[in-house]
Amino acid sequence: MNVVRMLAFVAVALVLQTTLARFLVRGSIGVDLVLVAVVYLSLRAGPTVGIVSGSVAGLAQDALTTGIVGIGGLGKTIVGYLAGVVGSAFIVAQPLPRFLVFFAGTIIEMTVITGLHAVLDAGLPVVPVGAIVAQAFGNSLVGLVVFQLADGLPRAAERWRARR
């Protein structure tokens, strides 16, 4: 995958996340578009892209917060790497496996971030398990939509061009 396209994809996700966060977040329940982008890129391009995109996206996301820079980066790097490994080792072309990968990726990232904050005594408020699961559902659904759009848009464009 082209690095510029990868970075652009991450940047779009980050912009959308920062601009649409107030609409996507309800209390502690929210959708992490940046994570969705990282998992998507990892499933599409493999673990290396997952690592790079996860690292860059996480660091950028951390940089925009007042928290410790690197925690989100490490969490998204792990998720990107694991998702890339899964995408390379298995055929993840159906909605259910993709859903599971997004779901597991969200759980893993939340676990890493929560665990690191606990280890570092960084004062992160305890996120209820229900909120984590709800975010995992939201991310998974958004991820499926992204996959559908990414798969469907080129075909729709071809059809549109053929009709003209």
């Binding site: 997952g50 790079v52 660091l59 410790i68 820079v69 690197g70 790097t77 792990i78 790497y81």
Partner: protein, 295 residues
């Protein structure tokens, strides 16, 4: 722009990136001691490295000091032992000089107190056999030394000159088996003859069976033998054996340590016997006592 070939080794890349993130996190987090986590971690790691290195260096140094560095220790040890021996010899020499000085001081004191014409002499030789107890002094006829002159020391009577030569003289010690000296015992001034037997003890003979003597009594020269001045300590009664009304044996321990003699005085003038009825009392000390001593 394509990703480099590092994509083929994504595991390594993951590790590198993960470690990079951990380092990044560590720089921002303080440990419980207030030290930045990265600093604490790096210090902890390096401290262990330093500890291990120090242990290795210490071990090497210990091995060096304990084994390799001991190459010259043998030579040092030999040199030190030699130095110790030299110092011991020097110490003994110093002690001998101190003892000699003390002996000379006592002898000088004796000479002053005795008021007799005497000649200081040094022991330069001893008897070649153990049966006959003699010593050789470094004064002879050229120094006025004659046969049968008494020889005394600060501790008491030593013996008599038996064979003078020009520059030396042989002195028969009291303990020689052929030596004898007229003595008096105790406050009662009991007369007797102390005789040597070749050992470091004297036999007291010719003591009256009615004499009142006791163990520990001081035995001094009586002067009646014409050799020894009166009043010089010969020794103390060490043992008395009685059989009926007579004495079987009276042993006298000499006052002089004949094995440690170094300097003596040769009495140049013959003694003058005063007699047991003399008002002079026997000496209690090693040297001559009482006003009856003659010059």
């Amino acid at each position: 722009m394509a990703l480099p070939d590092i994509r083929q080794r994504s595991g390594y890349l993951f590790l590198v990136v993960a470690v990079g993130h951990i380092i990044l996190i560590s720089t921002q987090v303080n440990s419980r001691s207030g030290v930045p986590l990265l600093q604490a971690f790096v210090f902890g790691v390096f401290a262990e490295v330093q500890r291990g290195t120090a242990g290795v260096v210490g071990g090497v140094r210990g091995a060096w000091d304990g084994y390799v560095g001991l190459r010259n220790v043998h030579a040092d040890n030999v040199a030190l032992k030699q130095r110790v021996r030299d110092l011991e010899v020097k110490l003994q020499r110093e002690r001998a000089l101190a003892g000699e000085s003390e002996n000379l001081r006592r002898l000088l004191d004796l000479r002053d107190r005795s008021r007799m014409p005497t000649r200081a002499a040094e022991i330069i030789g001893t008897s070649p056999t153990a049966d006959f107890r003699t010593v050789t002094i470094d004064r002879g006829t050229s120094d006025g030394v004659r046969a049968d002159m008494a020889v005394i020391s600060a501790s008491g009577a030593v013996g008599r000159v038996v064979t003078p030569s020009r520059h030396a003289a042989k002195v028969q010690l009291l303990v020689d088996r052929n030596a004898a000296v007229a003595v008096m015992v105790g406050a009662a001034r009991v007369q007797g003859i102390a005789m040597g037997n070749g050992e470091n003890v004297l036999r007291l003979e010719y003591v009256s069976s009615s004499a009142v003597i006791a163990k520990g009594d001081t035995v001094v020269t009586s002067g009646i033998d014409g050799i020894y001045p009166q009043g010089f300590v010969v020794g103390r009664i060490e043992e008395i054996e009685r059989a009926g009304g007579t004495f079987r044996a009276i042993r006298v321990r000499p006052a002089v340590d004949f094995t440690a003699l170094e300097q003596v005085l040769v009495v140049l003038a013959p003694p003058t016997f005063v007699g047991p009825e003399s008002p002079a009392a026997p000496a209690a000390g090693p040297g001559p006592a009482g006003p009856e001593r003659r010059e």
